[in-house]
Symmetry: C2
């Protein structure tokens, strides 16, 4: 180490001490997300960054590199330039394949000088490349050898904010909405820019600002102006703004008597509305629509189809280059047979009937973001229609913000699922359009972001936002690779921290499945707020609102028969897959009771009975959480105190509540099957009635 | 300057640069409040602090002094010790008069060593003294000459949080509730400690956690445990926790058939509930109750009196040393004569009938926290009952968080008002108990605090929290002195900043009065959310909900006749004062139309007509805001960028909305009086109908 280096090191230490002294306002509270830029820390005064051209996006890229403070004194000159730059063009790099958003980061020689070139066909690509460079360095990549080239496989990488205009986030567990609609468009909170930075760093390029359960007011002039202010802030970061549209807005705002998509006046109203929006937001992304689902208005109110509705809206935004994302999440009490079948039944006949700027948004599974579901049968069933997949990043059914559950394994498992329609056909290849050559491709995640200081309600929930973005960019990334990336950036590269955090992440979601109900059980949660166990609920108005509808447990057995003897939902899958799922012996154990109703003494592959297997999974889930807690305890002092303490507290809550899920569930199953607990298992702490009496009248995220 | 000093100075500059580089997470975002401790910045490694005794409160005091970083290298030894410390006792200082909470800070000689002694009779007093010392230094006081002695004049210095259990703050404009009830009692957000620090620094010693429009659930075991966790955090800072109690809780939670305070079973239920609370919170402060007001249940539902209700609750907390704060804010549609008279009519007959641990909480004025109201006639009218005053720090009627309005002039004017009951009798002397020798004294402020990063929704709103606390400690402080203190601590001591900010603060509330309606007009705001002008509203169910009820404007004149020819509310004041208020010529101009209905051409003292005077006040209000905006503009670069920009934006909003108030109000008055605008005044920007059509369906703070 040179004398200069030593003095810098000492200086950094002293500064760290001073920063520490300024009190809790500057503690590590999670605000920085994975953009912490803490290691190595030194001055960046020596850093030379040249941006060719002066667009807001290039300025953002250069600013991010400067603020990162990640470069040693031997930092190279960094050049940010698009492919049209004369020097870059002269290098004759193979940039065409990068498309609109891909990037290339690597060393080149320019005028005899070794230069680190961040290039792309667009300034957005340069921005993505800059973030890739920072990720490379933060995860321990060498500054000497850099060769980063990547192009996103999916075009629309979108967050769906279920944010209401009154600031309440439906299924939000991280505080109120990040959008302060009241002070917009005047006040532009610097946090909006940090939101855009975080999204751009993982490649997210779209945000739907308001809840799919939409209010018509979001389409009025004042709210368009507010959305436009956000669009202005997000634009340099390559992020387009979308709005959820209430289908009946022509009635509520326009004074029309109908919202029938076939009525010319309705079409005119939407065209005028789209024109108005595009005057304020020239690059407005388009509409997301939840129609004829859970009480929302839609085209079926008028005897028209979902395609009629989607195409009418699509025509309104088409002249401006906008799109419509039309949700396939529908179910109605008119078809009590099997809720899991309804989206398929309603949408498959419409295949090929959607306009070319419509994409149908399909949840990962056929019910509703459960801890585990088989992939949605619509994937593979609508070859002539672009389907984007919708994941839920917010953990409505996986312990809200409090429980630690890393969702990348859930996302990846769905994306990797073989649809069976062709060799090598996976959900990912349906979604990325490569199977059928669709131009419009997308992945949406229901955001877990609120105005909590740490954005997502806990330090670990940030990993799910991160993983969603990374998978949307490249569905081929493994959950473990993403976990390691996130950990290094979020907690630093201490090997023990890296190992422990990555391990915790990787086991966490399976633990939730185990303690909430394994083997393909689903929808066992309490009513309304969806927190905690309530498999006993059977008295709600619509049959498919009740957990008993899903598990169908009785003295004779448990599970939903979706084979020919039952609802025959298996027939919605490709024939070979359907045949496998029709037989419990060839159904994956993790999905067994999703597809089959089986006796409690059914013999599993292990030789254990179904009941013993199910029961012991609850213990396994609780044990995993207890182990995670111990492992985190061992990191005390290796992780900054504030994030450490919050995580330790939440893990304690999770362990207590995992036991609650276990005990309540076992109590109930035993009340149904009258079987004893498997040998050695501890009895539930309370009787069943105690569990039934738990109430959470003010649970977050539950709109009243 | 010594070489060491130079090197320290250079070091500090370098560190500042590094801190600046770490990005927006560490920008000045207002989180630090007036506890910024930025000047002078140097290391505190040389600081010697000795705390005698090891109580959590003394630890908090020592920690605060250490974190402040305010002491130069010549810092003296600081000794924190209570009066019982042997060395302190030997000094024979006159400490007895300090009482439980007062402090003395000054130099003493201990063992030949000059020592800065922070002492008091209790550790709470030492904490208050430590904060006084920091205030002294932050406001430019010398480290060499320190002689700070102070004792609070008011015993209960309390914040009322109108926070609902679902996180919504009624009349809250600074985000959601600071209390994350969902994660309590497990997760103890470090922010709770910072809340306690801020309150302790200005002497606030009590906090009512939940809305006076209370839910019974706040008294259930889970919520008592949550409140207990907060109480544990606040205790070292001398802050007691109180709860708003729903009067009908014995029915809702206890399954009783009645909440009649005279029913022995009801009394037993409350005693058991109090016992349960005190088991969890041994120093629980007691209950705040809003009864028989705006739909809340209360003793009058059973034909009992407010005293019956209050005394029954008082008996429940009495064995534990608790108190009951019983609100006098009542009005009912059964008495449509004059809403301003009702609290007096209902409470005065009860004077002397309240238990000795009951204090009646009376709003500063008889209507409801308007931009200006005469002092409440109950002050001076209930000599045998302790009355605490209730101010509203959150600006429900003064532009929410967006408008800049410094409320200390409003608070001080009320406190300084002569009640006329005896020579020198002021509202302050009623409140501090000195007139009648009451032991129980108090001042309550409806908090303007939420989970916004800057706590209060804007940097300047922090001044109102600060001023409330300082006035509660010492009602004799002047608004200007408090403004200067706050400015120095919040923005530093640059003379131009000090002068400009203090001037802005001091003029701001009068500007709001001017542009919303001067000369004693009140209750002219829009329905429900209370934002913006709506003097025309006349169609609400209850007469006293309508602005027209209050201004009574017609072709002939404007104002509410509260003299003998009208409601005779003036008779509620002491006779000499009542006589002055009965005559418009001896009524303060600022309260003229509160007490009198006068013709539009009534001649004011200036010789102008009433109409011209009123109209020109609107212009004056708008002009003042425009001037504030220009002055703030001149501070660009002298105030940190983030707080500067937010304030600049909000001032722009305020100027626009001041014009809106002006134009809408003038339009309406002209539609009533058919008079032209005074010469030279600009006509309203829109016609009256336009103003009537403004809608704010999602305004914050308005419970649905």
């Amino acid at each position: 180490m040179t004398a200069f280096g030593r003095s810098i090191g000492k200086f950094a230490l002293l500064c760290a001490a001073v920063i520490g002294l300024t009190g809790p306002a500057h503690a590590e509270d999670g605000y920085d997300l994975w953009l912490r830029y803490r290691t190595p820390a030194t001055t960046s005064s020596a850093l030379k960054i040249e941006a060719r051209g002066d667009t807001p996006t290039l300025r953002a890229a250069a600013e991010e590199l400067r603020r990162s403070n990640l470069f040693a004194t031997k930092a190279p000159t960094i050049l940010l330039a698009t492919a049209t730059d004369r020097d870059v063009a002269a290098l004759r790099l193979p940039l065409a394949a990068l498309g609109d958003e891909g990037y290339r980061v690597g060393y080149v020689t320019l005028g005899n000088r070794r230069t680190l070139l961040v290039t792309a066909n667009t300034d957005r690509g340069v921005l993505y490349g800059s973030f890739a460079l920072l990720r490379h360095l933060q995860t321990g990549g060498s500054l000497d050898r850099i060769d980063l080239t990547s192009t996103p496989r999916v075009k629309l990488r979108v967050l769906n904010h279920w944010d209401n205009l009154d600031g309440v986030v439906e299924r939000g567990y991280a505080g109120a909405s990040l959008w302060d609609w009241w002070t917009l468009p005047d006040f532009r909170d610097p946090r909006y820019t940090d939101y855009a930075r975080a999204n751009a760093s993982i490649g997210i390029n779209g945000t739907v600002l308001n809840n799919v359960n939409a209010k018509a007011e979001s389409l009025t002039a004042p709210y368009i102006a507010k959305a436009a202010a956000l669009a202005d802030i997000f634009r340099p970061y390559g992020i387009k703004v979308y709005l959820s549209a209430r289908f009946s807005a022509p009635i509520e705002l326009g004074g029309l008597k109908t919202a029938d998509p076939r009525d010319p006046a309705v079409g005119r109203w939407w065209r005028a509305k789209a024109d108005e929006i595009y005057r304020a937001i020239p690059d407005f992304g388009g509409f997301l629509v939840k129609a004829n689902s859970e009480g929302q208005p839609g085209p079926r109110d008028y005897g028209a189809t979902h395609a009629d509705g989607a195409n009418m809206l699509a025509a309104a935004v088409k002249p401006h280059g906008g799109i419509v994302m039309w949700r396939a999440f529908v179910y109605a009490d008119t078809d009590p047979d099997d809720r899991a079948k309804q989206a398929y039944d309603e949408f498959k006949p419409l295949d090929g009937r959607f306009a070319d700027n419509v994409v149908v948004q399909v949840k990962n599974g056929a019910i509703d973001f459960q801890p585990r579901e088989p992939f949605h049968p619509l994937f593979g069933a609508m070859p002539r229609t672009p389907l984007m997949i919708e994941f839920q990043i917010t953990k409505e059914y996986l312990g809200f913000a409090t429980h630690l559950a890393y969702l990348a394994p859930l996302f990846a498992k769905t994306l990797d699922a073989q649809t069976g329609t062709a060799p090598g056909a996976t959900v990912a290849r349906v979604v990325d359009g490569s199977l059928e050559g669709h131009r419009l491709t997308g992945m949406a995640g229901v955001a877990n972001i609120g105005d909590s200081r740490d954005w997502t309600g806990s330090p670990f929930n940030q990993a799910n936002w991160y993983a969603f973005g990374r998978l949307a960019w490249d569905p081929g990334l493994t959950p473990e690779a993403i976990a390691r990336e996130w950990t290094a950036q979020s907690f630093g590269r201490d090997p023990q921290v890296m190992r422990t955090v990555t391990d915790m992440l990787m086991r966490s979601r399976e633990a939730v499945v185990d303690y909430t109900g394994a083997l393909g059980l689903a929808h066992l949660m309490a009513t309304g707020h969806h927190y905690g166990p309530a498999p006993w609920v059977s008295d709600l108005k619509r049959p498919e609102w009740n957990p008993v509808y899903y598990h169908r447990a009785d003295r004779g057995g448990i599970g939903f028969d979706r084979t020919k003897t039952g609802s025959n939902a298996v027939a919605q899958y490709a024939p070979a897959l359907a045949a496998r799922l029709a037989d419990p012996r060839t159904t994956p154990e993790s999905e067994l009771l999703w597809f089959h109703h089986l006796p409690w003494d059914y013999r599993m592959a292990s030789g254990q009975t179904l009941w013993e297997t199910l029961a012991r999974r609850y213990d396994r889930g609780v044990d995993t959480v207890a182990a995670m807690r111990r492992e985190w305890e061992a990191l005390r002092g290796r992780v900054d105190p504030q994030r450490w303490a919050k995580t330790a507290t939440f893990l304690a809550v999770q362990e207590r509540e995992a036991r609650w899920w276990r005990d309540a569930s076992l109590s109930y199953w035993m009340s149904v099957n009258h079987l004893p607990l498997p040998a050695g298992m501890a009895p539930p702490a309370h009787d069943l009635d105690w569990y039934k009496q738990q109430r959470f009248p003010f649970a977050p995220g539950n709109p009243q």
